[in-house]
Amino acid sequence: MKSICFYFQVHQPFRLRTYRFFDIANKHDYFDSYNNSFIMRRVAEKSYLPMNKLLLELIREYGSAFKVSFSISGMALEQFEAYAPSVIDSFKELAATGNVEFLAETYAHSLVSLKNEAEFKQQVEMHANKIENTFGQKPTTFRNTELIYSDEIGASVADMGYKVMLTEGAKHVLGWRSPNFMYTNAINPKLKLLLKNFRLSDDIAFRFSQQSWEGWPLTPDKFTDWLNQVDEKEEVVNLFMDYETFGEHQWKETGIFDFMKKLPEAVFSNTGFTFATPAELGEKLQPVSSIQVPNPISWADEERDLTAWLGNDLQDEAFGKLYDLNSLITKCDDAEIMKDWMYLQTSDHFYYMCTKWFSDGDVHRYFNPYSTPYDAFINYMNVLSDFIIRVEQASGSSKPEIEGLKSAFSDLTDQAEKLARKQATSTARKVKKTLSKSKDLKFEDIKDLSNTAVKKLIKDIPIDELTIAMKDAETEIREKVIPNLGKRAKAQYDSIESELKKVKKSDIKKYRQQIENKFKNMFG
């Protein structure tokens, strides 16, 4: 028995208002409540409400045979509560049927999984709690913002106890393999993966109303024909898409609602497929293998990578500056700051800064408040600059101070390092010298010998010869030798030295040479 797994993404960001430089440090309201409420109401009316109604009717008609799953971001839930509470009610009705699974994601629909594991886990927990409180279900399936996935992200999702995770069936990851099986995470095989069948998903989500497409017009019968072409052994077709597909991306007039209304009937009568939720599939299916995803993938664009959100200078700067705040944020307990911290992390802000679509299509202009990525960047940075000031104040430490501390600390470490290095070098030199003593120790090297060695040396040298050799020697050498003379030797030395007037240089040289020869005997 093959399964169809429907998952719908519901998300709306808190879009920023036009926030000017003059507002920095003066005004702290960042969001365009007029526009956000307008958009939310419009989408609710055109998409969420009619589609929820349709799904509810289908569930009532087919009972447990028809199932779907949703991921609703914390941002969308909050906006439903504020601007369109009837949407929450209709989702609750769906939840009550028992045929709808609600997934966990990051509360802010953020990209935090790429940046900070602790904050990521916290946001997921926050979202899971919100879902549980709202719909009475504790999520066991996870999906990340924009289906972003990598081995590492999967592993930390497994850590949190999730059993199933959804991601893209990206060609460059799958190679010859099919997305129509269940796989597992490469690091922790306990985490099962369901991969989006992007061809069949996008036939509905993107191509449904494209008259230039050879599949147009798409009918339930045609779609079930395609489902029947799926290889016998394959187990699941994952149809993942934005919920706004219904009524917003594809308008009502395209017939998208009729298509969905008739699809279950066509599936039941033309194919052997049934409908299942991700959690059910996690129980039911056997994973075929693990899958290696060292670099993050997503469901966006042809490339299925992160370049829609990160990668150009504008995005990287904004993203970097935002998450520089992470450690300070942990010291804040101001509710307003925590709220804005969430809202500012929403991936859409970075999406608006993408420059690769200057020539590209309209999909990306969907409710984009900015005319250029530069406008998006300036506005976001103005807001972020004000937010940074607030966070610094609330966390009781301004960044300059922290940086001062940091630099003082690094100065200290530098100095310590230098000292240590100096010590190490001189020790190394001594060791080296000691090791090479036998070979060519010079008279001058006496100063580096241990007192014991000096004493031993003096014993073997006639005191008069020593006195001559010491004539005009460096202070350091004298200070090494003289204290090591015995009492008698010292007296002798002194008297000889006082008598010594003119000594031939050649004599000094000669006796020094003899001492050097003694070295060889001593250590050779």
């Binding site: 003066n26 504008l314 700067e317 250029t372 300036i378 600059s385 960044k399």
Partner: protein, 428 residues
């Protein structure tokens, strides 16, 4: 003494420094008993005409069958719209106009010689056509009006000035507020260059706004040095209407660039200097106020240097926002690569903001209480900014003396010099 004066814009309908300078100068001249008929392509009716009589060229009919023009109009060459006309002050306006015309499918068929002609008075695609039309009007006015001398401001009005001189035989003074070299660097639009050169050659005297401009006029245009005279601009002293309505809550020092974000203004040097300072001192914020064809490139650079949390962009500032910007600023920087005069630093000083200006600006010739650097010397620029931010003695001295200095730059004085340029011509 009565002057027939041609300008392109007049306050409050201005897009740049030209209109402001004309206004100040005419007010100054009126105090020295000079009467003026000031011709603009388009008047709106709300201009301050206390110092002069404003003539709206759009109101003047022109009939080329009129015998009095017959001899002259044949001499006026119709100038086609150049494919790469560099808009004079407002590139955004220029591209907007082009976009709009594309959408509406408006055609540019010339109606320069029609009886009625409505000027836009802007810097749009029909700029050259409007310049030509103004020349026709100029020759018509010259035949009818009674005056002693013609004074034309910037190349846009030179054809009108030349036409008026040919029709009336009266002496012509042309005023160089900017040269094509300042506007475009070395990529001069030859059409504009030619008009500037013809205007200066036809003129009895050329007034330049700085010695810097005077040198360009002599060296690049080959104008006889003997007839080129520098009269520095001044500042309007009556600015009571602008009061900042903003409180500075930022604890960091604010360093501001205010002007068009174009090659001529040197915005990239400002960013590099900001980067140098921010590496040492995070207690400074930088602001680039203005827009222009290099803005996106500058935003990219700031993002690339990872200083966007301390370097802000405001876009084009209008009206009171300029006053507010100065109220928030601790240092004003004008790093212009080439600036014939540069009035913005004077406005900054008037608002008690110390300034750093490039030596490549005309205003550097007259200002004492300003730090002057070469536009390319990013290190010196950074040093100067840092000094003004942190050494209070320096900044308070600059504020105090700077304000007095600016208050002494009166249009009345500049106007007197202009009158002294007129006088010997009149006696001829």
């Amino acid at each position: 003494m009565r002057i027939l004066m041609f300008g392109w814009e007049f306050p409050p309908h201005i897009t740049g420094g030209l209109g402001t300078a004309c206004f100040g100068l005419t007010k100054g001249l009126s105090k020295h008993d000079v009467e003026m008929i000031f011709v603009v392509p388009k008047a709106y009716g709300d201009e301050d005409q206390s110092a002069l009589r404003l003539v709206n060229a759009s109101d003047i009919q022109f009939d080329f069958k009129d015998e009095s023009f017959a001899e002259y109009w044949s001499k006026i060459k119709y100038m086609e719209v150049g494919s790469n006309v560099i808009p004079y002050v407002d590139p955004e306006e220029f591209s907007n106009v082009i976009e709009k015309n594309k959408k509406t499918g408006e055609s540019y068929t010339s109606n320069v010689f029609s009886k009625n002609y409505v000027f836009s008075g802007k810097y749009g695609v029909n700029l050259m056509e409007e310049v030509s039309r103004l020349a026709l009007i100029g020759s018509g006015l010259a035949a009818k009006e009674d005056f002693d001398l013609i004074h034309a401001h910037d190349w846009l009005t030179y054809p009108a000035g030349i036409a008026a001189k040919k029709t009336s035989g009266k002496p012509l003074v042309v005023h160089m507020h900017a040269t094509e070299y300042d506007r475009t660097g070395e990529n001069v639009n030859t059409l504009v260059f030619d008009i500037e050169k013809q205007g200066m050659e036809a003129a009895d005297r050329v007034i330049t706004v700085s010695d810097l401009t005077r040198r360009i006029v002599i060296e690049k245009y080959g104008i006889d040095a003997g007839k080129v005279i520098t009269v520095h601009n001044a500042v309007d002293q009556n600015v009571t209407s602008e009061i900042a309505d903003i409180k500075k809550n930022l604890k960091e020092k604010v360093v501001t660039f205010l002007g068009r974000v174009t090659f001529q203004k040197g915005p990239e040097y400002f960013i590099e200097a900001a980067h140098k300072i921010l590496q040492r001192d995070r207690n400074v914020r930088f602001v680039m106020a203005g827009s222009g064809d290099m803005l996106n490139k500058m935003i990219d650079r700031v993002a690339q240097l990872r200083i966007a949390d301390r370097f802000h962009f405001t876009g084009f500032l209008k009206g009171n926002d300029v006053t507010n910007m100065f109220a928030l600023s601790d240092v004003f920087v004008m790093p212009s690569v080439s600036e014939p005069f540069g009035i913005v630093p004077l406005e900054a000083m008037r608002s008690n903001v110390p300034v750093v200006i490039s030596k490549q600006s005309g205003v550097a010739e007259i200002l004492e209480h300003a730090l002057k650097i070469d536009f390319w010397d990013v290190d010196a620029m950074a040093d100067s900014i840092y000094g003004l931010c942190h050494y209070d003695a320096l900044s308070s001295m600059f504020k105090k003396h700077g304000k007095v200095e600016v208050e002494n730059l009166k249009w009345e004085k500049a106007a007197l010099k202009v009158k002294q340029v007129y006088e010997p011509l009149m006696s001829k």
